[in-house]
């Protein structure tokens, strides 16, 4: 069993930078958890703090209920895979995988057993006597994972493990990693700046910004209900539409378009207030007529995304993105009407950025 509990963790660097700001987080046993955010948000710092490479200025870390905040890195029984894999170039693959076992003074036959187990799981048995410089990037990554696995840790920490792979390899590695984690069932925390990766891999995830956690939840929650503007703009391969409008009674006026506000929203806001409407382009489709609940405007740009087109229109000065199925690409300058799906539309407070 290895749950991870983070209580009130704060990390202030000697130069005054507050990398982690009073974080609370709970990660369940066996979960594949992703830490997502832009550079500088603190996700890597948090990972390193969990691993013991950084010490928290304040707060506690509990692994399986044990307070490990002051335990040194080597004694926490966690394994970390670094972005550059950190394979020792002067040792061959087998020696690399074996190295942590040698440090822990496992007997020779135990070392052999573990190395073989890990090599088998990662399908790298045939690479054992090669040197890291002689194998491909994808293979190096597997060796790094195998090395982590050989120590049968309670917790895996992955620091951007896929970012050094080229695009195609990355997708393969992604599926492989997901499957592996499911089979092993060991709690895994992964740091990434790639939101599609986090959404694909994680059981649950957290988005961080400037040392704080902005939202925690499952990928589905993130995609459908981002809790604030930061998360909303961060998640999703295509940027979410975030449009500011003025409240008029029970409606929201954005440019010339008018949208009915759901009950729970209209009771929080008053006429004249400015709020932001958010809706993904995937849930904005072409409507035959104009009228209430529709954006109308001239097509400015179309992007071919394979199965559909991303179409950008100018609706009274507002840029609205929507999708159009393959085969009905509109022409530039054509006037079309976009209707956002009311079920998928969210509203945000302009000042706080939070969901209403």
């Amino acid at each position: 069993m290895s749950t991870v509990n983070i209580k009130g963790i704060t990390k202030v660097f000697p130069n005054g930078v507050r990398a982690l700001d009073n974080l609370d987080l709970e990660i369940k046993d066996g979960e594949f958890f992703a830490l997502l955010g832009p550079s500088g948000c603190g996700k890597t710092t948090l990972l390193r703090t969990l691993g013991g490479l950084e010490s928290a200025t304040d707060g506690h870390i509990l692994i399986d209920g044990n307070d490990v905040t002051r335990t040194s890195a080597g004694d926490r029984n966690v394994a970390m895979v670094f972005q550059d894999y950190a394979l020792y170039p002067h040792m061959n693959v087998k020696e690399n995988i074996q190295y942590p076992l040698k440090i822990r003074k496992y007997p020779k036959d135990e070392c052999e057993r573990r190395v073989n187990m890990a090599a088998k799981a990662l399908s790298i048995e045939n690479l054992l006597d090669r040197k890291p410089g002689q194998i491909s990037g994808g293979q190096q990554q597997r060796v790094a994972v195998a090395r982590a696995m050989a120590t049968t840790p309670n917790l895996y920490l992955f620091d951007e493990p896929l970012s050094n792979l080229d695009a195609r390899l990355r997708l393969e590695a992604r599926s492989f990693l997901k499957q592996l984690q499911r089979e092993l069932g060991v709690t895994t925390i992964l740091v990434t700046h790639d939101q599609s990766e986090a959404l694909a891999l994680a059981d649950r995830m957290a988005v961080m910004e400037l040392g704080k956690i902005r939202q925690v939840g499952s990928p589905v929650e993130f995609f459908h209900r981002p809790a604030n503007l930061f998360v909303a703009s961060f998640i999703g391969s295509t940027p979410m539409n975030l449009l500011e409008g003025v409240v008029q009674g029970k409606d929201l006026k954005i440019g010339e378009a008018k949208f009915a506000l759901p009950a729970h929203v209209s009771k929080e806001v008053s006429t004249g207030a400015k709020i932001i409407m958010g809706v993904r382009p995937e849930y904005v489709s072409v409507s035959k007529s104009s009228g209430s609940g529709v954006f109308s405007g001239k097509v400015k740009i179309t992007e071919n995304l394979g199965t559909h087109y991303l179409v950008l229109i100018d609706a009274d000065g507002n840029v609205v993105r929507g999708t159009v199925p393959d085969g009905s690409e509109p022409s530039i300058g054509e006037v079309i009407h976009f209707k956002p799906d009311p079920e998928r539309t969210l509203f945000y407070d302009t000042k706080s950025g939070e969901l209403i």
Binding site: S55, T57, A73
Partner: protein
């Protein structure tokens, strides 16, 4: 209930994750000890001795007294000292700055554009001059400059007694020959570090090799130039090597400061005076370093 976490309890003050204070000190201490005992202490001791009248024999050996700036005053009125100073400056400027740096740079620059084979061959030759031990090299030059049958005279068809009639010039040329390798290697690294695209843009724009050199290469390698000049100036200023060729002579014509110190210390056994000269050398070194470093800082602003 909740115990206080000590800040930085497991990474040291600099945030380093791997080296703890204990290991770091352990790794650093042997080097620190040796450097302090055999480098730092002698440096300060030199200054101290410079203000005493310490001699290895006689009364002052038993009971050296601090005679203050007496030694320094003596130096300032000692024509031998000024001669030595003059000789050393000519030697330094001539062989280091004008010689090694310039030659080293041009070698690096020209070889850079030639084939690897040619470059390796020439480099080996130049480096050999640097590598051959000083006592051997000194004799080789004694032979080379020999008045009767030395190779130089054989080539020139003359019978000049170089080491007797032109001793200072001889050791200047000798030192250029001896030390160019370092500058060459340093500038080779410097030139190699210039992004090829910078030079190609200039070439496409029509710049001649000379213009490329002046406007792109030299500015790009300025830090290297300064480092080189600094190091070779100091090394040359303090150099004792020519002693093995001329012993400071004939007379005192090639009595570099290092040789002057040696003569006073281990021949005349006047440790106090010798140390004061050495202390003056240290001071000059300091001034030279400051000059080069501030020149570097100033221009880059």
């Amino acid at each position: 209930m909740v115990t206080e976490i000590k800040a930085g309890s497991r990474t040291d003050k600099s945030g380093n994750a791997v080296l703890r204070g204990g290991a770091a000190s352990f790794f650093l201490s042997p080097a620190t000890i040796i450097i302090i005992i055999f480098l730092v202490i002698p440096a300060f001791w030199t200054i101290y001795l410079g203000i005493t009248n310490y001699r290895l024999t006689g009364f002052s050996a038993v009971d050296p007294e601090i005679i203050g700036l007496e030694n320094f005053r003596r130096a300032l009125s000692d024509p031998a000292f000024f001669n030595s100073l003059k000789v050393t400056f000519i030697f330094t400027i001539g062989s280091a700055i004008l010689g090694q740096a310039v030659l080293g740079f041009f070698l690096a620059w020209i070889l850079f554009g030639l084939s690897k084979r040619v470059r390796s061959t020439v480099e080996i030759i130049v480096i050999a001059a640097w590598m051959v031990p000083s006592s051997v090299v000194s004799f080789l030059w004694i032979a080379f400059l020999n008045g009767d049958v030395g190779t130089l005279n054989a080539i020139l068809g003359s019978q000049t007694r170089w080491l007797i009639d032109y001793p200072l010039e001889s050791i200047v040329v000798f030192n250029i020959w001896r030390g160019t390798a370092f500058s060459m290697l340093l500038f080779a690294a410097a030139v190699a570090s210039i992004p090829k695209s910078h030079l190609e843009v200039a070439r496409v724009a029509g710049a001649s090799r000379g213009q490329q050199l002046r406007t792109i290469v030299l500015p790009a390698i300025r830090p290297y130039i300064l480092t080189d000049i600094l190091l070779i100036t100091l090394w040359t200023f303090n150099d004792f090597g020519p002693y093995l060729i001329t012993s400071g002579g004939p007379g005192q014509e090639t009595e570099l400061l290092a040789i002057f110190v040696y003569n006073n210390a281990l021949r005349f056994l006047d440790f106090g005076y010798a140390s004061s000269i050495a202390a003056i050398m240290l001071l000059i070194n300091l001034i030279l370093s400051l000059i080069v470093i501030t020149t570097g800082k100033k221009r880059s602003q």
